[in-house]
Amino acid sequence: MRTFKMGGIHPQEYKLSAGIKIQDADLPRQAVIPLGHYLGIPSNAVIAKGDTIKVGQLIGQAGGHVSANVHSSVSGIVNRIEGAFDASGYKVPSVFIDVEGDEWLESIDRTREVKRECTLTPAGIIKKITESGIVGLGGATFPTHVKLTPPPGKKAEVLIVNGVECEPYLTCDHQLMLEKGEEILVGVTILMKAIDVNRAVIGIENNKKDAIALMQRLAKTFEGIQVVPLQVQYPQGGEKQLVDAILGRQVPSGALPIEVGAVVQNVATAFAVYEAVQKNKPLFERVITITGKSMAHHGNYRARIGTPLISVVEQAGGIPEDTGKIVAGGPMMGRALSNLDIAVAKGTSGVLFIPTVESARKQMQNCIRCTKCVVVCPMGLEPYLLMTQSERSMWKEMENERIMDCIECGCCSFTCPSNRPLLDYLRLGKTTVNKIIRNRHARK
């Protein structure tokens, strides 16, 4: 069975919420819809305090090239536009909406039947995706229309669809494939048309056998779509790792997958594209997983963007007693949250409750030069060296050691027998070097 060649780990899977049907999360009393995006420029608000708005209405216009439109996920009255904490622990501009009823825009098709035919031209599809504010739902929330518009001179050969979900605990993509398999496949054909390729490969890890069987059966009725089971290995969901696993091609350092003719999209993104193009529904809700070892009821919830996490958590049975850390996203790449009042964002894939014993950091010891971190690094870096350089502020040397290739997967910290906080220092180095590079470009 295929997997990527360099590095990687296999942490225990703990897919506790697997097979649990997606439920609709309750509408919040007040929605806090972030206008900022994890990467890129925040959107500009196009509504004002006191406006009455409907579900699906545009509230934030993309603020630049790497930015996306934001739509209202609820109907009601705009209370205020103000900074609100997001998962990053900083304040981002957000729209506070007092919810009244659930009135959708008439243009949105709320019927359930699957619409297969798409008559739009490739340019029309990309325009629709741009308008609908679709971003990569795998976590990095990179605007999808930017990915679908390759730089001049580059041509995509194959579309790779990421159904890997390599993070432990998370099951939102898995469940989405089981329940919305056909819609996802229609979304994939639309994406194929948009980038003008006739081949798409869906990669699914082998711990989701039901999803593989279902998708393989459904894919037979579509032309050019192939479903490939992959060996379970973290971080297979990383773009470059997935391209390596499926095509056997290595993306060069500092380049994007388009360099080797691939465009990678997540299954949830494919589903969002289906809804936007066929049902005229902008991106304003997503599936999130609520789970944790000490949690009594795990679940997958379809939550509107802007729903405070605490409201979804309470619907799932509240915060478990034995909780040391609450993490937004998976245990490997997720961020520990400082409070639960933050809202579901486009990139929120789940809320994970980690028991006190497991969440405690262990005593850091000296590096014993065992090179385990080098062995597991999927990007071929030397984390132990980069950490030392970061501690000593050797930014130039870090740039030469290709810190910008780091995908922050956390394999190095996970595997270190001396409990060294490698990822913390690598992240610091990466942000600092990124700033230095940006300043250099700005000066030119």
């Binding site: 622990g89 900083y90 913390d424």
Partner: protein
């Protein structure tokens, strides 16, 4: 025997030729260097800290000798005494009278700015800043992990055990700028040094609107603009919900300190005054 003589003769001849070449070269390619540079360099502390803005003490010495006035040159380590010495050596006026001093602009100690969450990772402000907003509701203020303390080569900055905020020892501070660069939140600022180390400054860097920050910190600047009205010297400006006192224009009259409702503006090293005491008592017992 002849081999011995031959080899000796060869050695002497080669040596003599080399000596002649070296002699001519040293005369012909001689570079004149001002002897003052060596003397200035000897007067400098020779730690090559870079605090003056030059890569080494020698580079600084060269600049001191070649420049017309010493006005903008200052050795941060040696301070006034060294600059006076340098001025005597090069025979120019030393421009700087008082070096600025580092000021930590955050008053959010443990009591006035309660924790909202707990952080258990690496003890480094840079890493915490990179990760999230910090352990309190204020994302602007001091994180308290002491990157500034580590950066100080002169033992002039320490974390106060009670407030967990850094404090600068004005006597030891050489205004080398290291802590200013080390602070990821840009809290530390170099401010003009006044008589007896007296200082008046806004002890806050938060730029959130007043109603939002008041929830998380009781000594934050809430941009109420009362100080703006109280200042008779146009020394105070407010930008981005934060007041700032220009130390060049400030006359240390203390009017702004008196009107500040959150005690965000602080006075340091002033003799106690009667009015101030009364105001505090009024605040403590509003019934009177």
């Amino acid at each position: 025997m002849s081999i011995l003589i031959l080899s000796l003769a060869t050695l002497v001849t080669v040596g003599a030729i080399a000596a002649i070449i070296l002699f001519i070269a040293s005369k012909k390619f001689r570079v004149f260097e001002d002897p003052l540079i060596d003397r200035v360099e000897a007067a400098l502390p020779s730690v090559n800290c870079g605090g003056c803005g030059f890569p080494s003490c020698r580079a600084f010495a060269i600049e001191c000798v070649h420049t017309e006035s010493l006005k903008n040159l200052v050795c941060t380590v040696g301070g006034i005494a060294t600059m006076k010495e340098v001025a005597i050596i090069v025979g120019k006026d030393s421009g700087i009278l008082r070096l600025p001093v580092a000021v930590v602009r955050c008053g959010g100690g443990c009591e006035v700015r309660p924790l909202t969450n707990r952080y258990d990772g690496v003890n480094s402000c840079a890493i915490v800043h990179n990760l999230y907003g910090g352990e309190t509701g204020c994302t602007w203020g001091c994180l308290g992990y002491g990157d500034c303390v580590l950066s100080c080569k002169f033992d002039a900055i320490h974390i106060h055990p009670k407030t967990k905020l850094p404090e600068v020892d004005d006597d030891k501070c050489t205004s080398c700028n290291a802590c200013v660069k080390a602070c990821p939140k840009s809290i530390i600022e170099l401010r003009k040094r006044a008589i007896k180390s007296r200082k008046i400054y806004v002890n806050c860097v938060n730029k959130d609107p007043g109603d939002l920050i008041a929830e998380f910190c009781s000594v934050a600047c809430i941009s109420c603009k009362k100080c703006l009205e109280a200042c008779a010297f146009d020394a105070i400006t407010i930008s981005g919900n934060l007041a700032f006192i220009d130390s060049d224009k400030c006359t240390l009259c203390r009017q702004c300190v008196r009107v500040c409702p959150t005690n965000a503006i602080v006075e340091v090293n002033f003799p106690g005054r009667k009015n101030q005491q009364e105001t505090i008592e009024e605040v403590m017992n509003p019934a009177n």
